[in-house]
């Protein structure tokens, strides 16, 4: 018999993927629906802000990032029916009312003088949390059964990291006086307080710290 027919292990020695994962199909659909809702509200406001910021470099970066988050929303939209959620709209919801209040506040600034407030909300509060929540999901899900979610998470994370860096660099170049440092810090504090009230992008347990787990600790 030729070597081509010799039995080989189905998993190569370097392939260490495992079956167990933290999320059921239902958990995953719920989280993915929360991600889609968040990315939608994010791309909408970035698009809306383009006309309200006088700084030309910021305007052009926001235009580019608008598409990145729309594309993430589309990735999640397409993942939902594969998770037995044929009615995508039903699952496209925020985690809770407190998260809606947080996003409303992120989206609130409008005046042309408020570029720092706009950017802090997105690049110092929301996007770092998207990175955290996506990373938790990526690290916790089954590397075999949930490979399609992993692929989308990795694409989205790549953009989130790049966009976070773009936004953070714009902020560092805009924050050039002690007063502006205070403004940025105040805005960040305000939003972080609203964020923790919601428990996170996917609600309590966004990073795995469920109420029971916290109680048991």
């Amino acid at each position: 018999m030729s070597d081509a027919f010799k039995a080989r292990a189905p998993f190569a020695p370097w392939d260490r993927r495992e079956l167990p994962g933290l999320f059921s199909v239902e958990d995953t659909a719920r989280r993915v629906g929360n991600y889609k809702w968040t990315e939608m509200r994010l791309f909408e406001v970035l698009g809306g802000w383009v006309a309200t910021v006088p700084e030309l470099d910021v305007k052009l970066v926001l235009g580019r990032h608008t598409y990145h988050h729309a594309w993430h929303a589309e990735l999640w939209h397409k993942r939902l029916p594969e998770l037995r959620e044929m009615n995508q709209e039903r699952m496209t919801v925020p985690a809770n009312d407190a998260f809606v209040a947080f996003m409303d506040s992120v989206r609130d600034p409008e005046a042309p003088e408020l570029t720092i407030e706009k950017l802090v909300g997105v690049y110092r509060v929301l996007i770092p949390r998207l990175i955290a929540v996506y990373t938790y999901h990526l690290n916790g899900t089954s590397t075999i059964t949930d490979a399609p979610t992993i692929r989308s998470l990795k694409f989205a994370l790549q953009d989130e990291f790049d966009d976070w860096r773009d936004g953070e660099m714009l902020l560092q170049s805009l924050i050039d006086t002690p007063e502006k440092v205070d403004r940025a810090a105040r805005r960040q504090q305000e939003l972080e307080k609203l964020y923790i009230r919601s428990g996170g992008i996917a609600g309590p347990g966004s990073l795995g710290e469920t109420a029971e787990e916290q109680g048991a600790a």
């Binding site: 698009g47 383009v50 700084e55 030309l56 305007k59 926001l62 235009g63 608008t66 409008e110």
Partner: protein, 272 residues
């Protein structure tokens, strides 16, 4: 942030100077300039004012791209989920990225041609088409009328780049032309989809498009005659979903605008 941002609130840095379209049309210096023989207005290298015209047109393209970016961005934000389909907003977000690149390209092409931001004034009538509160009207006004104008402008500039053996200009305009054909196609597709069962709404949207198109003919700015700086790009308009009938009717509208502008300038010259 409120929905529907009026034209007057578009944010600009200190370099930009806003002018009203009517101020430009009724500029008292216009008739005097018209009597000077600077040759036909069509963009061509043998025209005496070709270099100046290309710089001013490039600046106009640049501010037009900013407004196209802002208009697409506002369409992502202004409509709730039940007013505009998710996929339509995704298309608009994609257009934001494209228009943002067009701004970058036209800033660099402005440097290349020897103009700078703020050298010419900006009128915001392009963005005005993006203020319509009905998403179908807005899409038709922006993605068929405004983006259709962009096809004509980029094709004109691409030809000018070819004729003046400027490979940078020709290369960039060709890339932008490809994006604009895509944007018009989006507009044509959404108009068809959203008004499939509502012919009356479709007719209203097309009527709005004709009104916007008429404004964009800008007293002879666009057409198929030697006097029109920007030439109608029929071949690319067809690719983008315009029918022969639509192109013919636009051409007729443009010829009327050119004739009106000619009469107006003769009248004004006679009064001076």
């Amino acid at each position: 942030m409120k929905k529907m941002l009026p034209e007057s609130e578009l944010a600009r840095d200190e370099r930009f100077v806003r002018s009203k379209i009517e101020d430009r049309i009724f500029d008292p210096r216009g008739p005097k300039l018209a009597t000077r023989n600077t040759g036909p207005a069509m963009m061509a290298t043998d025209r005496p004012a070709a270099a100046e015209r290309s710089r001013s047109l490039m600046h106009g393209i640049f501010v037009g791209e900013i407004q196209a970016l802002e208009g697409a961005g506002r369409t992502c934000f202004d409509f709730d989920d039940d007013e505009a389909p998710f996929q339509l907003k995704l298309d608009m977000a994609r257009q934001c990225w494209d228009e943002s690149r067009h701004c970058e390209i036209s800033i660099k092409l402005g440097d290349h041609l020897g103009t700078e931001i703020g050298e010419y004034t900006e009128s915001t009538f392009l963005y005005a088409a993006a203020c319509n509160p009905d998403p179908v009207m807005r899409l038709t006004g922006v993605n068929r009328a405004l983006e259709g104008l962009a096809i004509d402008v980029f094709n004109t500039m691409r030809e000018f780049g070819k004729e003046s053996t400027d490979p940078v200009l020709e290369f960039c305009e060709d890339w932008m032309l490809a994006d604009e054909v895509t944007h018009v196609k989006m507009g044509s597709d959404w108009l068809r989809r959203l008004t499939e069962k509502d012919p009356e709404r479709r007719e209203r949207a097309l009527e709005f498009q004709r009104t916007v198109d008429k404004i964009f003919n800008l007293g002879g700015f666009r057409g198929e005659q030697e006097e029109n700086p920007v030439q109608l790009a029929r071949r690319f308009r067809e690719l983008a979903g315009f029918t022969d009938e639509e192109n013919d009717s636009l051409s007729k509208l443009a010829a009327e605008s050119t004739e009106e502008a000619r009469q107006m300038s003769e009248l004004l010259a006679g009064n001076n």
